[in-house]
Each structure stands twice: as structure tokens, then as C-alpha cells.
Symmetry: C2
Amino acid sequence: MSTVICMKKDYLYREISANMARLIREGVLQPGDKLPSVRDICTEHGVSMNTAKRVFLELERDALVEAKPQSGYYVNRLPFRKLQIPETSHPSPLNSHSRPSHLIAKVYGDMGNQGLTLFSIGAPAKELLPVAKLNKAILQATRDLPGSGTGYEPLAGNERLRRAIAKRSFHWGGYLTENDIISTAGGMNAIAFCLMATTRRGDTLAVESPIYPGILQLAVSLGLKVLELPTHPQTGVHPTNLEKVIHQIHCCLLVTNFNTPLGSCMPDEHKRAIVKLITRHRIPLIEDDIYGDLYFGNNRPLCCKAYDNKGWVLWCSSASKTLAPGYRVGWVAPGRFREKVLQLKHMHAISSTAITQEAIAAFMDSGRYDQHLRQMRQTLHSNYLQYMHTIASHFPAGTQTSQPQGGLSLWVAFDKHLSAAELYEHALRQKISIAPGRMFTLQPQFNHCMRLSLGMAWTKQLEQRLQLLGKIAAGMM
Amino acid sequence: MSTVICMKKDYLYREISANMARLIREGVLQPGDKLPSVRDICTEHGVSMNTAKRVFLELERDALVEAKPQSGYYVNRLPFRKLQIPETSHPSPLNSHSRPSHLIAKVYGDMGNQGLTLFSIGAPAKELLPVAKLNKAILQATRDLPGSGTGYEPLAGNERLRRAIAKRSFHWGGYLTENDIISTAGGMNAIAFCLMATTRRGDTLAVESPIYPGILQLAVSLGLKVLELPTHPQTGVHPTNLEKVIHQIHCCLLVTNFNTPLGSCMPDEHKRAIVKLITRHRIPLIEDDIYGDLYFGNNRPLCCKAYDNKGWVLWCSSASKTLAPGYRVGWVAPGRFREKVLQLKHMHAISSTAITQEAIAAFMDSGRYDQHLRQMRQTLHSNYLQYMHTIASHFPAGTQTSQPQGGLSLWVAFDKHLSAAELYEHALRQKISIAPGRMFTLQPQFNHCMRLSLGMAWTKQLEQRLQLLGKIAAGMM
């Protein structure tokens, strides 16, 4: 009984703070506005002093409000409001694939060095993961699985995992069943199978620009031509830009929700239009949705797969960005390419690791996953706001940033004359690692950009490292 | 102290029984010969009555000797000595790839049915695996690994695992270091990376015939032409047969030790000659050594990799045939193709599952792996002898079998007029599943052959099922 009461209180203070946060974000409450007092909140919402205080602590943690002694809480002046969003990218229509292999090898190679602050990393730090609870799930998996998970499992993957994913697909309009889903050894493994199932050497693949380098490397290694599409930092690829090239391409790959490095999220109407377009032209769309659960706002964004009636969307995701990269648990709902993907999985992998899949399934089945996601989203959102504050105050004037509403990364564009590859070298000497923008394209662009990871625990030390990075950049101007 | 004494006794009775087994196998002791008495063994070897009795129990379990009441032990008459070995296969020089897809889909599809006796399966049953000890290793892995294995690990894979594999490579002449090794998600994943690293579409790959169907499917899906080589059931591919086609091929894949389905093992001099040949012609050799640790005799066979000075051999193996198929832990020492394989792993998988690798590493590091292997080898050898007895007594006259000296499978050739695909259907009605020979080739051959799995626990019931299978086959003649 006490748990229920506690849960309810929990829910109440979150609800109130979320509503106030929305009013601040939407500009109803303006920077400098005084907020209702703690006592006002108690009276208006019929909650205890403790609950009301937690509302403000929450808002303060997210850097949305500030307390003034003897006076009360005020809407924060949000200096980052001044930061501009970079413009839509303008990659060449088709390019000769100038691969940034050397730069990528260097950045990944250096990452192993001890004592670096890894702003360059693309995965959540372990402080953000529910490690102890996952350990319990692993132990339980060895007890629950037939043969303790030592034997091969069915080709499509752990059934409990596939059912849990199917259930969760209701949140984004998927309405999948476990039979729609095939598990893989992580998200990139799912994408690799999808590319192999839908393309042949010499085909052209359309993607966002900038985009995760691993996808570019994979596409090139499979003999594909890559067509990078103009991409807006907030809304991603516009349907009209895909339509213009639809006759040149054989496949399309989009990270529709909070992609890396931009953090862009396609509006629902764009998703719907794109699915209509690719369906009409019978072009497969590989949708990478690994960040979809990491929204900062109130609602999980939908997926293109939600609008897919004819099976042309291959929806991929994984547990690597929300639970445990090291477990290598990913999956795909490949629509009409199901048989092909199953065959590829059989040939390249035989089956998936039973224990880690079962552990993820058990975790998802329990309420712990939602609880964890709520916490992780708050941390990431709070990190994002802290990054924005620090960048606005300590980075060179004119620095632009994407303004992601979810995900793990922030895209920073400096003055055109600043070389992020040079900044990389300078920062590395100070034990700071960044991901230069040139890594995220096969064309000579984004040389003045970089990606920063939001997936670390925000500490005084991290703040100082970020300030130092800004100072190094300013020194180069 | 008592453990040491126990270990020593353990070793002694095994040594004596192994020596006697050798004398029987080599024909020094002939069928029907009377063996020394238990008392003789005590005197000659200075051991206790108990130890001497265990010597005979061991030999009896392996069906090498039989006890006659009031008289003593005699060399078994080994009825299977009458079973002939099939002749060397004669695949066409180059073929049009007639794929047995339908048959393979049917056999794999049916495997999921309840209550089948799976003579068709290619993996060890859980009764043969050290499940409880592996569970402990998994638990320990969550304690030992940084972040409990939730984070990405280095691209090459778990260092402890790679070191354990390197150490064990001394047994087969490998003398590898951990830097030579890259971990993968199982053995087929290693082979897939090797094929992608060494070939391009349209290239020709030379393989044994018959061979594991997954390799054929993978090669065809990568656009390779497959050249099946004449293969002897005992000694595999002869160097001269590879030499004849060396100018037609771009890559070669051999399962050098106790391959499936034949169980053939290449003699050392053949291995040496083949490495010399492929090195001279700069042809990569993918060596699949997944069964190498499962020898029935006294010594582990060497690998081609042991003769490889120039890095043209890509040595692959896994823990799937000896410890836990469901863990998906495999590896490769890719020689001069290391960078390419690393790149492929990065693009297709990012990294491997940390927990299962660590658990396998810990198990290998302890003495438990050798102890387990010893036990598993004895079980498989004993199974092999039991299968041979049963086949000799209950299968149609003229049935031929391979005589593997290790591994998990037995190859059975019936009279040319018997269709193993039809036998499959008849047997399935009796809840018995076999693997018809046609699965193991892209050519119209082996229609009268089948593969039987040795990897199950031998019980009265299994014996009856095997007898029934023989009866069904006899009924079809």
C-alpha cells in the first residue's frame, strides 16, 4: 500500500514540474518571470510542502529555474537562447566518396588512451546505466533459460525479447507482433543485414548528412554509392528533398528520431509523406530508431514504421543506447524483407547470444525499464541544458549548435575558418577528445563542426573540461 | 594433499587404459584375445585393485573389451570392423550451383517439432556441456568486468579471452599472441568476416565436399563460385587435388580437423604441403578448426596455421562445439588480413558481447576446461563406438561409414539406390530427424548419404532409436 502512495506522490511532483517546464520551454513563462511560491503550489495542487519543494528542485536541476534567496524561484535567463541553429546541410547531389578514414582511425584509436574526457564517445557512460539491476537480470536469465542459455535458440531470436519489443512498439504506433521482429547482435548488425537484404553492389543509398560514420563505412564496403541528402538540424530530411532524387536511389536509410550527430527529429507529417513516397516507388527505407526512447519532451516520437502498410520500412533499434552497449542486443522488424534478413542472420551468425537477450527482455517486461528511461531522459535533458549554458558562456561568439529534443549528441558549428580537425589535436593535448564534423560525411564539408556526447554524468569537472574546450577553440580564432 | 593423490590415481588408470586402447585399435591385441587379469595389472603397474578395475571399466565403456563371467576380459569382436569407408568424393570440377535450399529449409524447419530424436543436429546436447560451471563463470564475469560488461569493449575483443586462446594455441603449434586474435559472435561470424575480407563477388572458393551447408549458403550469398574438391573420408583434401585447381581459385576454406559431416582429419604432411602451396600462390586459406579439440586419440592434431609463416592462413574457431553454442563466442587469427577483419567487425558488429566472452575466458583459464574436454572427448569417442556397433548390427548390409577420429559427426553412405531424402521422410514419421547428404553439397551427389550427430548422451532409448533408423532404411531397400 505504501508503495502505491509513494508512486502516486512521485508521479504528482513530476507531473507538476513537467507542466511548468513546458510553459517555460514554450515561452508562456518568460526568462526572469517570478514563479508561484512553494506554498502556492501546495494550495493549488493539494500537495505537501515536500512534494512542492521537489517540483522546484527538479526544475532547478534542469537549469530551467533559479532560486533567489529571500525572494523565491525565477525562470532562468537561459543564455543559450542566443545560440543559433546551423543551417540545413548542402551536400553535393552525388559525390566521389572522399572517405575520412584517416581521421576516423585516429579518433577511435586515441579513445583508448587513459584519462581522456570522451566528448567524442557515442554511447552512454556506465553512470547512466542500471548496472546492478541488469546484473540481477543476467543471473535470472541463467536460471530461466533452457540449458541456462548454452544452447542455440530459434533463428528469429529470444521470444520473450521479441514480445517485449512488440509490446513497446505500441508507444510509437508500431503495433508489431513478435513474429515481425528478428533479434541481432546490436543495432549496426541489424543495419548491416538490412543493407545486405535490400541492395546490391553499385546501388545508390540515400542518407542524412551529417550521419554516423559507421553507416557510411558499411555502405561503401558493400559497394554502394552514397547520396547524402540536405538535412535540417531540427527536422532532418525534408520529403521534397528525398522526392527530388527518388529515381536515382535504390534504398534509403534514415535515423528519424534524435539521430547522431544532429539530434534532429522528423515531424510526423514528414514521416508520413516519406513512407508514402518510398512505398509508391518501392524503395526500401531502413529506419534506425536507436534513440527514439530518449526524448526530452513529454511524448515519444512516432516512427516511419507506424505509417508502413506495405512492408517497405525495415525498422531497426537496440538496447545499446538505453541499457547496455556491451550486451550487443539489437533487433529489426524488416517488413517484406523478413525472409531475406532471416537467411542472412542464419548465414552470418547462426543465432544470437541467449543470456543477454533474455536479461534485456526481463528488464523490459518489468516496470524497471520505464523507470530507468524516465531517469535517463531527465539526466540527458539536464545535461543538454548544462552544455548549452556552458557553450553560450565559454565558446567563441558566433558558435552555433543544434537544439536536439532527445538523444545523446549535440552538434556544434564554429566559424567557417576554424578547423575542427586542428581543434581535435589541440584539445587532445589537454586530454579532451571530440568528434570532428568531417567524420560524419563522405564529402569535403563540416570541417568547422564537431559532435559532443551528452551521455556522461554532469559534474563540476566535466563542466570545467567543456569550458576549457571552449577556451581552446576561442584561442584558435 | 588428498586432491593431488586423487589426481595422480586418476591419471594413472587413464594412462593404462589409453595404452591398452591403442594396442587394441592398432591391432596388436586382436578381437577375442584374452587380456591380463585385474591382479596382473596391479602387479605390473603397482596400482591398487580399484585402479586396475577402473582401467577395465573404462575400456568396457568404450566398447573395446567385454567381460566373460568367471573368465576375465577379452578384446571385443568389434563387429563394425566390417563396415567399409566410403570412397573419396568426386564432385564436378566446376558446377552450376544446384542449391539444396528446399531440403535445408525443411530439415531445419522440422527440427523445432517436439519430441524428435535429433540425429540431424550439429551441436553438442546440453548433457555434454558444463552448464553449472559456466553459470558460475557468467556470474563472476558480471563482477569482474568494468561496468559489469555493459559497456563497449575494445574492437579486437576481450583481452583475457584472446590471451587464453593464444595460450592454448601452443597445443597445436600455433604460438599465437593475443594481438593475433580477434573475437567474433561465434565461428560462422568469423568465417563470414574472413570470406568478406579475402574475396570479391565472382571469385572462386575451393572447399571440401561434402561440407557444412552454412558455408555453401554464405559463399553463394556473397556471390562466390564454389569449387568442391575431392575429399577422402579419413584424410580430407589431398594437396595434389588443391594444386590442380590452384590457378582457378581465389580463396580456399578447409575444416582441417574432424570436419562435419565426414569427420576427416588432414595428416600433418598434407597440412604442411597445402600451406606451402597456398603461400606460393598467395591464396588465402580460411581454416575452420572448431572441432580440433575433440580428438578421440591421445594428441590434439596440429593446424595449417602452425605452418603459416607468411600470414596467408586465417585460423577460425569457437566455443560453440565444446562449451556453449548459445554464448556466440568465436574468434579468428586472420594473419595478414587482420586490419580488414577488424574493419569488418567494426562495421558489422561494433564489438562483441562482453559477458559471455569473459565467462569463456575464465573457464579456459582455469583447469576446468581441460577436465571438461577430457570428459567430452571420452563421451564422444564412446558414442562413436556405440554408433558403429549399432550400425554394423542393425543397418542394411553394405552400409558404409566414415571412421572419424574426433568431432561430432558420422557420415553414413547407403546403397546408391536408397534416397536419404526419402529416408528422412520415413524416419520423421517415427519422430527421428536425420541430415540427408544432399544438404552438404551444391551438386547432385550424396543422395544416398546422411550425417548422424554424435553429440548426444548415449542411452538405451537413443540406441533403440538408432536401431529403428536402421530398420527403416533396411525396409526401403
